[in-house]
Amino acid sequence: MAELSVAELQTKAPSRARRLSLRRRARPGEAVIRTILLGSGVLSIFTTVGIIVVLVSDALGFFLHPGVTLVKFFTDTVWAPEFGRYGILPLATATLITSLIALIIAVPLGLSAAIFLSEYASPRARGYLKPILELLAAIPTVVYGYFAVTFMTPLLRSIFGADVVDFYNMASAGIVMGFMIIPLVASVSEDALASVPRALREAALGLGATPLETSLRVVVPAATSGIAASIILAISRAFGETMIVLLAAGAGPNFTLNPFKAAETITGHIARISTGDISHEGMDFYSLFALGLVLFIMTLTLNLISRWFVKRFREVY
């Protein structure tokens, strides 16, 4: 093709002399698309609304039942709907005990791992370890449940004796839940530690502090709110975890503080009861939603607090 000059080209493809009007054009397609995008965003609100409506309305079916009072719900130590006893305490204590055990495992280990990763590990080591943490966080919880039943429980029973440790017990579930939560604590705290400015570290090191003093006295305090967020998130996660406790903690409500005894948690109870061919009416069914509502309020509160902490450390740096 022969080379054409700009002028020749312009005669071949004349530009539009007419000036475009500035007036807004009708773009019906875009209006539709905008509506769809907005609708998709709003749908997520419907999910929340749906959760709240479902939990509250069916929980009302429970709380309005003549045999149930709020006081009894929170103070009775027996949960036996078939005998008209509706005390959340046995389920709640089991949830608290398993979660507490999990935190005792996960917080020190997860935090130490985070400090090591952010303050000591070489960039190369971090490059390998962080994805490993992520992979571990991705292990389905039913696998942890399997681990609790087939490894942790026999181990505990062989250490403390089969007469001390029940086959289903809260300790096994709690410990394994702790393992499950380590990656969560580690990665959220690591984010917080990593966002502490370098200058602060260098200032401390420059004053002659050892790396340990720098990380424990300077970096960790500076990242407190992020670390707090990770711990609260871990609590929320432990409260809501189902499969591990369902498999390993126990198959019936039991009001006990002994971690070696079997006791069912709130989530475990909801899951176990709905496994059977439960009828979609009646107290059994409604009571599940009352439990679900309590669980939802607890985890939502914790998540809000944790987000507040996260926001705070974002604001500082």
Partner: protein, 480 residues
């Protein structure tokens, strides 16, 4: 430490040598110990998780001792004793009648053995052997292929026979395969005891000795649970014959459908929040809402699904409204599970989409806007193509999540015993993690070995999917 800052005297300088005094050295020791403790806890965490993997693999195989629940000779072809010749009868008596009974024969029948009639000989066999019917039965190993197939046909149920035929026509199987089939299906050859994988590897001799003393003459082998047969078979009630196929297909359907529901909506919501919501109040509300949804325990989604999809919309989710016959009870269908799972992964997809879109440089948007593109044209032609790999990464992560989630599906009702493949979106179903749960929960210990095979399948799939996503994302980070 708390000394006030004054001009250092010359002594101060001389006191701090480069190698440090005792207090400095003590601090250094503490520092090194502290570092060690931190490192140790990281290692401890990793070891705990390594134990998890090893434990699963430990259950995957090992030496197993078998026993037949049914005597093989009772099911193989045999001839009635009445049809046997005199020599054959005498030989059987010689072989099977105990010596003390033999000694009593002349007294009982009034004549020595050699002089008795055939009829008497048959009677002797009936009276003095423990299982006279099986005396002439051929051992399993002596049967021809045709005979083996006939044995199968006579002794398993019609549906099971058809299932086996469907897996692979019996005519095409080798004689060894047929014998094994008869042993497993008809004789109910089952594992009486199995050692773990590591025991079997490291304690092999001790185990073989124990087999010889505790289970003399019994049949044993090194048994793996994760086999192609296991992956490809229907679910049954026996650990030796059960399989994973319905669960695999169920998982596949649920994951694909939930991704199909959640990805378009999630990506659209992500686009809205990043590109169109601006600082609007509605945008802020949606954003907060999504962060909160991401923290809602998965079992709560199960309750939402139970109340909305399985109960309120039951006629639609079972297909009854569309005239589908025999809907499963309580709305326990693939579609219920998929919708529930879609809601669960929606926040994950939205947040990942937002991150991917946020990573697209503003300069690119400016470039498109500056030639007169509208906001949507900019997003569609320039932002989305650049954000696509990031969005894909998010989708992959969501897939892994949907594959491994168990609790919500238990609540919406997947745990029923399902032997067959899902037949469509209105079919009842089981999924991989539910299958693991069910098997682990069964009282027979040997099912935990079956579960280990399913765990390995689930773990490998989920970790492979996640690894893909991580690699993809790290590539992207390098590019930007």
């Amino acid at each position: 430490m708390a000394r006030s800052i004054t001009e250092p005297t010359p002594q101060d300088f001389s006191a701090v040598e480069l190698r440090g005094d005792a207090s400095v050295r003590r601090r250094q020791v503490i520092a090194r110990t502290g570092r060690g403790v931190l490192f140790f806890s990281l290692v401890l965490g990793l070891v705990a998780l390594l134990t998890l993997f090893l434990n699963v693999f430990d259950k995957l195989g090992g030496y197993a001792v078998y026993a037949f629940k049914i005597d093989p000779l009772t099911i193989t072809p045999s001839r009635p004793l009445e049809e046997l010749s005199r020599e054959e009868l005498l030989a059987l008596i010689e072989k099977h009648v105990p010596e003390d009974a033999k000694a009593l024969i002349p007294e009982e029948y009034g004549a020595p053995l050699e002089e008795l009639s055939n009829e008497d000989l048959v009677n002797i066999l009936y009276n003095d052997t423990p299982s006279p019917e099986t005396l002439t039965a051929k051992p399993l190993e002596a049967l021809t292929r045709e005979e083996l197939i006939e044995v199968l046909q006579r002794n398993v149920t019609g549906t099971r026979f058809e299932q086996l035929q469907a897996e692979r026509p019996l005519e095409q199987r080798t004689r060894e395969e047929l014998i094994e089939l008869v042993e497993v299906e008809v004789l109910q050859r089952s594992v009486v005891w199995q050692w773990t994988l590591f025991e079997s590897i490291f304690n092999r001799d001790a185990i073989l000795a124990e087999i010889a003393s505790r289970y003399p003459g019994s049949d044993y082998e090194f048994k793996w649970w994760l086999t192609p047969r296991f992956i490809a078979s229907d679910q049954t009630t026996r650990p030796e014959t059960t399989g994973l196929r319905p669960a695999l297909l169920g998982s596949l359907l649920v994951v694909i459908l939930s991704i199909l529901f959640a990805v378009p909506i999630g990506v659209a919501a992500g686009i809205y929040l990043e590109e169109f919501a601006g600082k609007s109040r509605l945008g802020a509300i949606i954003q907060t809402n999504i962060y909160n949804l991401a923290g809602v325990p998965s079992i709560i989604y199960g309750m939402l699904g139970l109340a909305v999809f399985a109960r309120a919309l039951r006629d639609f989710t079972t297909g009854a409204a569309f005239g589908v016959p025999n809907p499963p009870p309580n709305g326990r269908t693939i579609i219920t599970a998929s919708l529930t799972m879609a809601l669960l992964i929606l926040p994950l997809i939205i947040v990942n989409t937002q991150e991917a879109i946020r990573a697209v440089p503003q300069a690119l948007r400016d470039a498109a806007l500056a030639v007169g593109a509208t906001k949507w044209e900019t997003v569609w032609h320039h932002v989305l193509p650049v954000a696509a790999p990031g969005i894909l990464t998010g989708t992959i992560l969501a897939t892994a999540r949907a594959l491994g989630e168990t609790a919500p599906l238990i609540v919406v009702g997947a745990a029923a015993y399902v032997t067959m493949d899902p037949q469509g979106i209105f079919s009842s179903y089981t999924v991989l993690p539910i299958q693991i749960y069910t098997w682990t929960k069964l009282p027979e210990q040997i099912f935990t070995r079956v579960a280990s095979a399913a765990v390995v399948v689930l773990l490998v799939t989920v970790l492979a999917i996640n690894l893909t996503a991580i690699i993809l994302r790290n590539r992207l980070r390098k590019q930007i």
